[in-house]
């Protein structure tokens, strides 16, 4: 695997749209060619070379390409967005849309990310070694398909509207979340190690949410239906199984109604 190292040499005045910073766009390019790739700052198109020092050539394919980014990326949007293979490591906090629409590969952010990250993520591994903002793994505005595959891990806390319209994949959050976790969820699995503020699983159709901590206010549409012993992300414990959201429509499978499940650790 070939490694391309980007080092931020100039922090943009406005926010830089780094749609080209991913293994798919870099594949088969030399450091010089990468430096000439475009990046928008408002309506003005600049080159990546103006903002980054670029060392190393990319591999022949995305899968053979690793990108390491050093320096202050807090004003960089779309890093690793739409990547399908390869690896990206960012040693900084990042702005919006980091890892959004990613389909494969491995993305690691050693810092915080802003809102709208992992939006409609369909595959791959995304690890955030910091906190995440709002709309993590949610759907794009107006879309009914949020995160649908892959594994998303957050070491810190996440904001509100996390995993809205989630349809598949696994999301593991070690810290706490704010309001609206898994709203409109239609599949997939959320493991929350910390506490949730309120409105967990509102309008949830299908899918599973595991909460290790507390929920400030439980949604009225959830009903306890027994206790189960489960192993969740390496932890064995007894969980109370709530079915819901009983206010929402639910599909039928083989004559039986399919409900979503909210497991609260005892």
């Amino acid at each position: 695997m070939e490694t391309v190292t980007l080092t931020v040499k100039q922090v943009p005045d406005l926010y830089l749209e780094c749609e080209n910073v991913n293994p798919d766009a870099f594949a088969g390019k030399t450091a010089e060619q990468i430096a000439k790739m475009g990046a928008y700052q408002g309506k003005e198109i600049s080159t990546l070379g103006e903002f980054f020092t670029i060392a190393g050539n990319a591999g022949a394919t995305a899968a053979d390409t690793k990108i390491v980014i050093n320096g202050d990326c807090t004003k960089m949007k779309y890093i690793g967005a739409k990547m399908t293979a390869g690896e990206v490591v960012v040693n900084s906090a990042c702005d919006m849309y980091t890892g959004s629409w990613m389909k494969g590969g491995k993305l690691t952010v050693n810092g915080d990310v802003h809102s709208f990250c992992a939006l409609a993520m369909a595959g791959g591994e995304f690890t955030i070694n910091g906190n995440a903002g709002n709309y993590l793994g949610a759907a794009y505005r107006g879309d009914w398909r949020g995160m649908s595959g892959g594994v998303l891990r957050v070491k810190g806390n996440a904001g509100s509207d996390v995993a809205s319209f989630m349809t598949g994949g696994t999301m593991i959050i070690d810290g706490d979340v704010d309001i609206h976790l898994g709203t409109h969820m239609e599949g997939g699995k959320i493991i929350l190690k910390g506490n949730a503020n309120r409105r967990v699983g509102g309008q949830l159709v299908k899918g599973e949410i595991y909460v290790f901590g507390k929920i400030n206010v439980m949604m009225p549409g959830y009903k306890p239906s027994g206790e189960v012993d489960l192993e969740v992300d390496g932890t064995k414990a007894t969980f109370i199984d709530y079915t819901g959201d009983l206010g929402e429509r639910h599909p039928k499978r083989k004559g039986a109604t399919v409900y979503g499940h909210l497991f609260m650790k005892k």
């Binding site: 408002g42 309506k43 919006m96 709208f116 309001i179 609206h180 439980m218 009225p220 009983l246 206010g247």
Partner: protein, 441 residues
């Protein structure tokens, strides 16, 4: 001799009352009196004759004072600012005509601006919910003629839309609602006992920030499922009772306002209310409508939606594609994050409504305001271009809160030499063309 102008459209709120009678002076220059309008609407017309109106553009001087300049000078300054800035916020539009908006959008496409309207601090969250789950709605005429279950959720038309209740929602006798108020059951859900609540048959006092839970409880009850003893401070018996009454109606409507859009969860509250409306259609006819504020904010959503597919916060910085993301391309976020280089405000007053930090950020950028009046925003602008009042001194198309287009009427002549929004924007557009042809500012 003074004369009456009848069937005037009131350019104040989203109700767009169309039965106002305005008496104007013989020379067609002064409004003498206003009939049929509410107190706020009448004031909008009466503003026209107030002394001290700014009649020519003003430009900020190095010492901080304003100096009168010509329209051409102000337009040239504005066009240069728009062409130079890499990202411009073009906010407002809610109190101008759809024709003016469309010219503004043409400018925005050329200069890569971000077009946003007052929905961003008002019913924007309703629009997000509509993007997410759609909306079963109707016209206000249908409400007047058919509705027998009317819910006011988190809105207070008695103060914000004063003639709404008498023209459409509570008191009028319609084709199928011949008994008027007596034939309707009125519900008010609010965290306070408002003046609208005084007109309601049933008042449900919800704990602040518990609308989402209560709406979910209504949906759960409609499906016949069990509920906890109380939800948001409302006993479950009350919830079951109201749901049964709603199911028993022939035509139900939910009107909602800032109590849903600007409390915890915002768009999710509307989303849940729309889903409740959808669910109630399993039992009877049910619709939902946003109580839009500014008289033509709906029009801005319509024009933007028709041209770009998004109703507000449309980012045209890529010129060949429109992008929209509430939280990113919305005015307050753009200003708070310092994501724009210049501000262009038209037909609204963000200075009076935006959070202070956003306006502090705005005040540090080149700013142009196009507005008939002196307001909080003109005080932090570099250029203030006064224009004729749309709906009073010039006509134009507007959309009522139920998305019905209504052509507003000119009642009096604007002050001599004063341009309209359309004229100013056309001149800016032409100047932008000239600058771009020369290769920039």
């Amino acid at each position: 001799m003074p004369k009456d102008v009848t069937d005037v459209i009131c350019p104040f709120c989203g109700t767009l009352c169309d039965d106002v009678v305005v008496t104007v002076s013989d020379d067609n220059k002064t409004i003498l009196s206003v009939k049929n309008a509410c107190a706020i609407g009448a004031e909008k017309f009466n503003h026209q004759r107030l002394p001290g109106r700014v009649k020519r553009p003003r430009m900020r001087q190095p010492d901080g004072t304003y100096k009168e300049v010509s329209y051409d000078e102000a337009i040239d300054w504005t066009a240069k600012m728009l062409v130079k800035s890499r990202k411009t916020l073009m906010y407002g539009w809610a109190s101008t005509s759809c024709q003016a908006m469309s010219i503004g959008h043409e400018i925005a496409e050329k200069v890569g601006g971000i077009v946003d309207n007052c929905a961003t601090v008002c019913h924007g969250s309703s629009l997000i919910a509509i993007e997410d789950v759609g909306v079963p709605s109707c016209t206000l005429g249908e409400v007047k003629n058919r509705a027998d279950r009317v819910i006011f959720w988190g809105c207070n038309p008695a103060h914000a839309h004063p003639r709404h209740m008498s023209r459409y929602s509570i008191f009028p006798r319609g084709f199928f609602t011949v008994k008027g108020h007596k034939g309707r059951k009125i519900y008010c859900v609010d965290c306070r006992y408002t003046d609208t609540a005084k007109c309601a048959d049933t008042f449900i006092q919800v704990q602040q920030g518990f609308d989402y839970e209560l709406l979910d409880a209504f949906r759960t009850a409609a499906r016949g499922e069990a509920l906890p003893d109380t939800v948001g401070g409302v006993p479950k018996e009350k919830i079951y009772e109201v749901v049964e009454e709603l199911k028993g109606g022939r035509f139900g409507i939910i009107f909602f306002g800032m109590g849903l859009t600007h409390t915890m969860g915002r768009n999710h509250n509307i989303d849940e209310a729309i889903c409740l409306t959808r669910d109630m259609n399993d039992f009877t006819k049910f619709v939902i409508m946003a109580m839009r504020g500014h008289w033509n904010v709906t029009g801005s959503g319509q024009v933007l939606g028709w041209q770009y597919g998004f109703p507000y916060a449309v980012d045209l910085s890529r010129r060949d594609q429109a992008r929209h993301q509430t939280g990113e391309t919305t005015s307050v976020d753009l200003l708070n994050r310092n994501e724009v280089e210049a501000c262009f405000y038209i037909a609204t007053d963000p200075g009076a409504h935006f959070p202070i930090n956003a306006m502090i950020s705005s005040s540090k950028k080149p700013t142009v305001t196009i507005d008939p009046h002196i307001n909080c925003t003109t005080e932090i602008s570099d250029v203030h271009i006064p224009v004729a009042m749309v709906g009073v001194e010039v006509g134009g198309c507007a959309y009522r809160m139920d998305n019905v287009p209504i052509e507003t009427r000119k009642v009096v002549e604007p002050p001599e030499g004063m341009l309209t929004d359309e004229e100013v924007l056309t001149k800016i557009n032409n100047r932008v063309d000239e600058l771009l042809a020369k290769g920039g500012a």
